[in-house]
């Protein structure tokens, strides 16, 4: 690697040897090892564990980005996400639940990233597709279905698997249904219509308990079925002593992990194809894109449909994992949260969307509540914090502040798309980009065979 040392920032000088060459292998192995060690030796639920946990998840993204052999990344991934994390989960079930939740939102963020990041269509009602998938499984797996027709009973729990596909198709159809009327709209107008659509779905779910009780209204659907556990005997034989609930946690963790992996592969491949380029062209300049023969309507619909289908699948998983869904689960704030993940991570960037999802979920579930409780303890211990100030009430404020600060200092996101980086800062071409170019060349040679 040629180093124009003078033109490199300190950050680049430090990270460059860590992201390529033999040092990268050593660094990554060491990184994962240390985090694993810290996690497994201290599985208590506290702030330090939270931080290590975030660093641990981050290691996967660092590996994803580093220039090391694919087999090495796969091995690291399998060890970290396939073995260490689930094992840690058996020590502290709270974290495996967080990881699963983070995985669900990673898939959602990746899906929304297709719509917002790739195609540039601001969608504020994305959670609607999630709701469609969730309610599909919620209704069909419980006695709710009997309200539609008394002759119908809940489907067999094993139908969960085909329902993943059904959820995908339902998401797809809803995506097209939303897409069709709004295709002529752009920017703000599109955002408002999608926002309305998201609310419509929620309100429908809220009110569809009369005249026929389909969704059970605001009370929500409870006792949603989980699929029968697979490989239970094998797991038990491995010596894992766990009740069904623990096993279900592991089951959903692995299921979500697989779906997220598939999502990443699909999204990454689409991005580097004629379809991804067409989306990007539409985002950059619609008139010019159409002048290249790109069918605008079809491409936008495709973006909507694909983005929505990921949400549909995850909806089914979510309903089954949570056992309970109700309309407020799918409110506007949820859509905005997913959008915040995409923007925080970096619009159009796949690792960015994943990082955003992980960070926002962690902030939501772990770090902010924990900070609040730390503050509260300090308050109780006599720290000079006014008694009227209840830290738990201010979690969202911190979250909002964080977003504002992010947008001011790093508008392109935490992990911007390689090519997007310049857009906001207008710097000249750096060594890093030349390096990125080298990265793309081997794949070019590969395709040449």
């Amino acid at each position: 690697m040629t180093t124009g040392a003078s033109s490199q920032s300190l950050w680049q000088r430090v990270t460059a040897p860590l992201s390529s060459g033999p040092t990268a292998y050593a660094f990554l192995a060491f990184y994962v090892l240390i985090c694993s060690f810290l996690l497994l030796t201290n599985p208590r639920t506290e702030l330090s564990t939270d931080i290590v946990f975030v660093l641990f998840m981050l290691s996967m993204l660092v590996a994803y980005r580093a220039r090391v052999a694919t087999w090495f990344k796969v091995v690291l991934g399998v060890i970290a996400l396939g073995i260490v994390l689930p094992y840690f989960g058996t020590l502290n079930p709270f974290y495996i639940d967080v990881a699963t939740q983070a995985g669900i939102f990673t898939a959602l963020a990746l899906g929304l990233n297709v719509v917002v990041g790739f195609a540039g269509l601001l969608d504020l009602g994305y959670v609607a597709f999630f709701a469609v998938g969730a309610y599909a499984w919620g209704i069909f797996s419980t006695t709710q279905i009997s309200n539609i027709n008394p002759a119908w009973g809940p489907v067999d729990p094993v139908m969960f698997y085909p329902f993943l596909i059904i959820g995908l198709i339902l998401g797809l159809i809803t995506g097209v249904l939303l897409g069709l009327p709004v295709l002529r709209l752009r920017g703000d107008y599109l955002a408002i219509v999608t926002l309305g659509f998201g609310e419509v779905i929620r309100v429908v779910a809220n009110n569809l308990d009369r005249p026929i009780n389909i969704t059970n209204g605001s009370q929500g659907i409870r006792d949603i079925e989980r699929p029968p556990l697979v490989l239970v005997d094998l797991v038990r034989n491995l010596g894992v002593v766990a009740d069904d609930n623990r096993l279900y946690q592991l089951f959903f963790y692995y299921l979500v992990l697989i779906i997220v992996l598939l999502t990443v592969i699909v999204v990454a491949r689409l991005k580097n194809s004629r379809i991804g380029r067409a989306w990007e062209a539409i985002r950059e300049d619609e008139v010019a894109a159409v002048a290249q023969g790109i069918p605008r309507v079809r491409m936008k619909l495709l973006a909507f449909a694909i983005g929505a289908s990921f949400a549909g699948v995850m909806g089914v998983v979510f309903a089954s994992k949570q056992l309970f869904i109700n309309p407020p689960t799918f409110d506007l704030l949820r859509s905005i949260n997913i959008l915040a993940m995409v923007i925080l991570g970096g619009m159009g960037s796949i690792p960015g969307a994943m990082l955003g999802a992980i960070i926002v979920t962690m902030l939501d579930l772990q770090i902010l509540p924990r900070l609040a409780s730390v503050l509260r303890e300090a308050q109780a211990a006599g720290a000079p914090i006014p008694r009227q100030f209840d830290p738990t009430q201010y979690q969202r404020l911190f979250f909002g502040l964080l977003l504002v600060i992010m947008m001011i200092f790093r508008p392109e996101g935490l992990w911007p798309d390689e090519r997007r980086r310049e857009e906001q800062h207008e710097v000249e071409i750096t060594d890093e980009e030349l390096e990125a170019d080298k990265l793309t060349k081997p794949t070019g040679a590969e395709t040449g065979r």
Partner: protein
Amino acid sequence: MALLEATNITKVFGGLVAVNDVTFTVEPGSIVSVIGPNGAGKTTFFNVLTGIYKPEKGRVIFAGQDITGWRSDQIAALGMRRTFQNIRLFGNMTVLENVLVGMHVHLQASIWGIISRGRNMLREEAKARNKAMELLNFVGIADKRDELAKNLPYGDQRRLEIARALAGEPKLILLDEPTAGMNPHETAEATQLIRRLRDDRGITVILIEHDMRLVMSISERISVLDYGSKIAEGDVQAIRTNPRVIEAYLGKGAADYAA
């Protein structure tokens, strides 16, 4: 048979008749210019031809098909490509990607092919990249393939727009002021390039241009628009001496003087 036949095209914006009953024919393999003072309706006419605007009256027949009222992307897919007066590249995509976008309609990979990374898709992508590089070579910016389009110097952006248009394997290319803002040296290079479009690649060219030296040196036929109407048509010599053209450009006194 003519490659492009536009008959009695009229385009109205509110009370303004931007293009008024213009009939315009282009033979295959020719270089044709459309000239006229600012606001004469030249770009509007281009926009009607390429489907960005629908004409109030008239028909457009291209490559034997009546394309009146077609969408822009359908017309582009049929082999009519254009560049824009105010350069409309995909600024945050690389030079190479811009050209690849131009090939969109010629790439067949289905969504399943893309997701499964099938052999056909990989082969097609590799081929597309080679073709794109060939086009970048043709316009002379192959060494800049990985730069962002918006970072290119002005002249190179114009070249890239032409390369992107060529990626669609067009029968007809419409260039809207391809040398606007260029210095004489760059203009000379651009003139060469336009000539090579026709001579090397057999593409028919329609040109909107204000640089009269370029127009007069390259065009086989010239049409002159003024206030939306076609006021003259003919070869270089006929246009040069046409009193109505001189009047439109220089005013009535000058026309009398020339006569």
